[in-house]
Structure formats: C-alpha cells, structure tokens
Amino acid sequence: MTDVKTQIEETVKANDVVLYMKGTKEMPQCGFSSRVAGVLNFMGVPFTDVNVLADDSLRQGIKDYSDWPTVPQLYVKGEFVGGCDIITEMTLSGELDTLFAEKNVTFDKAAADKIREANA
C-alpha cells in the first residue's frame, strides 16, 4: 500500500497535470473520464494520463491517496483538484482557467471560451 502511495506521490509531483482515469486519453473507457480528458485535450493542456484499469492496486490506491471515492481525478502541480463534476463546473465558471494561469500551466484560452459559449 505504501508503495502505491509513494508511486502516486512521485507521479503527481513529477508531472504538472496528471489525470487518473479509466482508459487512456486516446481511448477513455468511462464517460466521466472521457469528459475530463476531452476538456483537457480541447483546451490544449499537456497532461499525463494514468489508466487505473491497468493496475488494481492503483485503482484503489488513488482513492485512498486523495480520500476521494471516484475516478477520474485531476491533479495540478501535485494538488488534487477534483473529479468530473468539479472539473465541469470549474470549466464553465472559468475557475479552471484561473487555476491553470496561477500554476503556470499552458492552455488555450480561446478553446476554453468556446466550451463556455457552447454550454451557455
């Protein structure tokens, strides 16, 4: 268990934006994972995807790590930001843009605006 925790900690600290998801960013295997990966892809955010379905200890380990019962889970600069509902809300409210800007993560502001226009 400790090994999984250490592994997660190293991953989220070594990569600016990490998405723990079911499937991969190219081939998500759950609608919720797909939605968050889709937002990041569309906004041009470089991110590392980790497929929890590929490793059972990771699938449980990530939930213990963040004390959060569901996947996907988004981490920015080592910090847990939220799951699908929170990321959706933050995308639409513009808070996600603010977070990326504060954390010096590159993203396409025009694309983010397009998502908001389409969902207005």
Binding site: F32, D67, W68, P69, G82, C84, D85, E89, M90
Partner: protein
Amino acid sequence: MAILATDIEALIRETFPDAQIKVQGDDGAHFAAHVVDESFRGKNRVQQQRAVYAALKGKMDGPAGELHALALTTKAPD
C-alpha cells in the same frame, strides 16, 4: 441491489439534517444529487463533496458500491 433516489436522500439527510437535497435518477445506478447546506460555507468543492461521499458510507463506487454514478453538485446557501 439497486438503490433508490430516496435511499440516497435519506443517507445524505442523516449527516445533513437541515440541507436542501435534491436527488434525481431512476435506473438504480445513475443519479444526480444537489446538496445545499450551511456547513459548506468556507469550504472548497473538494471538501464539500468529500463530506457528502462520507455520508454515503461506501456506497459510492468500489466492489461493494451500488452507486456507479452520482453527479454531485454542492454549495452553501446564497
């Protein structure tokens, strides 16, 4: 065993007796819950929703989880 929207509401109600709670969904697995409670004031969304998940006592996800999908929104009263 499928779970009902009223079961989810009852579980949340145990922890948040004074909250405004709205749960929708009737297929036994996919639900949307909206919870407005004074105790959320000053907490970020992750903290708010962690508290709601805790109220659901492990029914969320996992091998024993009956709830595959709960779209959750939380806020403090305006």
